[in-house]
């Protein structure tokens, strides 16, 4: 079963030269600046490179961040700020704000914005893979892992690095808590979708599948609620997606719960459960339409035409008919007015974020070299300071979900 994940666009940034006329007072210091420029440019290229793998991404990320730390961590290990931290202005766009960048003159702002983009790349890599027609079991694992890695990066930024910013992010920007939280939960929910597909594939018990689906629906609901105080114009498309996934997985939960009830000879309740599944499914379907018609960041897709969607509809229909047949022949139960209550299982750990850590400082950043950076030189009389370059949006590889043939994840 190919999955479909809504994805907001990558962040874009203006090129940075790391040229500090005269401040870098030694060949070694100059080399650090040059290396920063090239490793940053390379990492930015990787974001839009369709052939990039998680391994390549990790190497490119480590190369840049191990250098960037030279201007962030204190060379003597004290809590004092690195003297270079505020020398450079960085401009980044935000996933929900189109091409309007925000800027801060702070290396930490660069660190969190870039790492945020790395996390986004992992989610996009995952959804590219998950949309494949004939996804293999190792690929399914890759999807699952990439989403957990992304969740780990978002989490680490939120807890460790964003609090260090002097200027807190404005509302609706990527680095504000609500947006961060939504990304974290969405990654976990999407990773759990892969787990559910696997459980179905392995013909696990219906009780377990129902519980996992119910929990996934709860994740999506939580993510949706986190966004409800944002401006609708930037968040409504994304929220439609989260809502449609929530109802979709509620339908899943009721569908499988109904199978459990039927197996336990509770035919009336089973019928009621399946009727509820139909309701949720119909709601998800109309949300698919609304999602398509909503303007906003992200890819356009017709989820209701996707196989994963159509498949569930058929499953609900068949299961309901089966229940009604059996009730007409065997059970003659009354169908209760209230839908059955779903139960949760502690599926703790199925979609745990992978802890993220910054790479260690590059060896070339010694205290001696650090001492050769002299802020009193140049910088002040920078008439030659180039105008901020324009931030061009990232040219992302096309992520059109394929019409798939129905091969499933295992």
């Amino acid at each position: 079963m190919a999955h479909w994940f809504h994805k907001n666009p990558l962040k874009a940034t203006a090129p940075v030269s790391f040229n500090y006329y005269g401040v870098a007072g030694s060949p070694a210091a100059n080399k650090i600046c040059n290396d920063l420029r090239t490793t940053r440019a390379r990492l930015l290229d990787m974001f839009t490179d369709i052939t990039c793998t998680p391994e390549v991404m990790k190497n490119a990320t480590d190369a840049y961040f191990s250098l960037l730390q030279c201007f962030i961590v204190s060379p003597d290990g004290s809590t004092q700020d690195n003297k270079m931290r505020f020398i450079q202005n960085f401009r980044w766009t935000d996933t929900l704000q189109g091409n309007t960048p925000s800027a801060q003159q702070d290396m930490v702002f660069e660190l969190v914005s870039m790492a945020f983009n790395v996390a986004l790349w992992y989610t996009k890599f995952a959804s590219r893979l998950a949309g494949k027609e004939n996804i293999t079991e190792p690929e399914a694992k890759d999807v699952h892992r990439s989403l957990k890695v992304a969740a780990g990066i978002f989490m680490n930024l939120k807890e460790m690095h964003i609090p260090r910013l002097i200027t807190p992010a404005e509302k609706g920007r990527d680095l504000e808590p609500r947006v961060m939280d939504t990304y974290i939960i969405q990654c976990q929910a999407e990773a759990q979708e892969v787990t559910i597909a696997r459980a179905i594939e392995l013909k696990h018990k219906a009780t377990l599948i129902a519980a996992l689906a119910y929990e996934t629906a709860n994740f999506y609901q939580k993510a949706d609620h986190t966004l409800n105080t944002l401006e609708p114009e930037c968040s409504s498309k994304w929220r439609k997606y989260l809502q449609l996934k929530q109802h979709f997985y509620m339908a899943y939960a009721y569908c499988y719960h109904g199978q459990t009830l039927l197996a336990g000879d509770k035919c009336g309740e089973a019928i009621r459960s399946l009727q509820e599944a139909e309701k949720c499914y119909a709601r998800a379907e109309s949300l698919c339409k609304e999602y398509r018609q909503t303007k906003g960041p992200g890819t356009t897709a017709k989820p209701s035409e996707q196989l994963f969607f159509i498949k569930l509809g058929g499953l609900i229909k068949n299961t309901l008919e089966k229940c009604q047949r059996e009730n007409g022949f065997i059970y003659f139960h009354k169908v209760p007015a209230e839908p059955p209550t779903l139960e949760l299982k502690a599926s703790y750990g199925l979609a745990e974020p992978v802890p993220f850590e910054l790479p260690p400082l590059r060896e070339q950043c010694t205290p001696e070299v650090y001492a050769t950076f002299d802020l009193t030189k140049g910088a002040k009389n920078d008439k030659a300071k180039p105008k901020d370059e324009e931030v061009k949006p990232m040219k992302e590889p096309d992520l059109k979900p394929q019409k798939d043939t129905g091969c499933s994840i295992s």
């Binding site: 694992k141 957990k148 787990t195 696997r198 392995l202 696990h204 009780t207 377990l208 199925l350 979609a351």
Partner: protein, 107 residues
């Protein structure tokens, strides 16, 4: 002419003779024409039941005669306590563990 020198008694005798003969002939022809049957029909079920009963009786007698010394050695009660057997988990948990393993492998 012959009838004339027969008195009424002789005719009577003759008649009874003839009827006797006829009865005999009838009896013989009956005996010949009737299929030979060895006595009456036996009720087979009854016979079988009887056989069963007899066998059962024999068996009971045999069983009663089983005596023999009652000194069959029994194993001693083990002095070590048994290892704790893990409680049987339900399938859900097994499935869950499988998924957990899978999710961990994907790290």
């Amino acid at each position: 002419k012959a009838a004339h020198d027969m008195d009424i008694d002789k005719v009577d005798d003759l008649m009874s003779d003839i009827s006797e003969q006829r009865e005999l002939a009838q009896e013989i022809s009956d005996a010949i024409s009737k299929p030979v049957s060895y006595g009456e029909d036996f009720d087979e079920d009854e016979l079988l039941a009887e056989l069963d009963d007899l066998q059962q009786e024999e068996l009971e007698k045999d069983l009663l005669e089983i005596g023999g010394p009652e000194t069959t050695p029994l194993p001693n009660v083990p002095s070590t306590s048994l290892p704790n057997r893990p409680a049987k988990k339900d399938e859900d948990e097994d499935d869950m563990e499988g998924l957990q393993r899978w999710a961990l492998e994907a790290m």
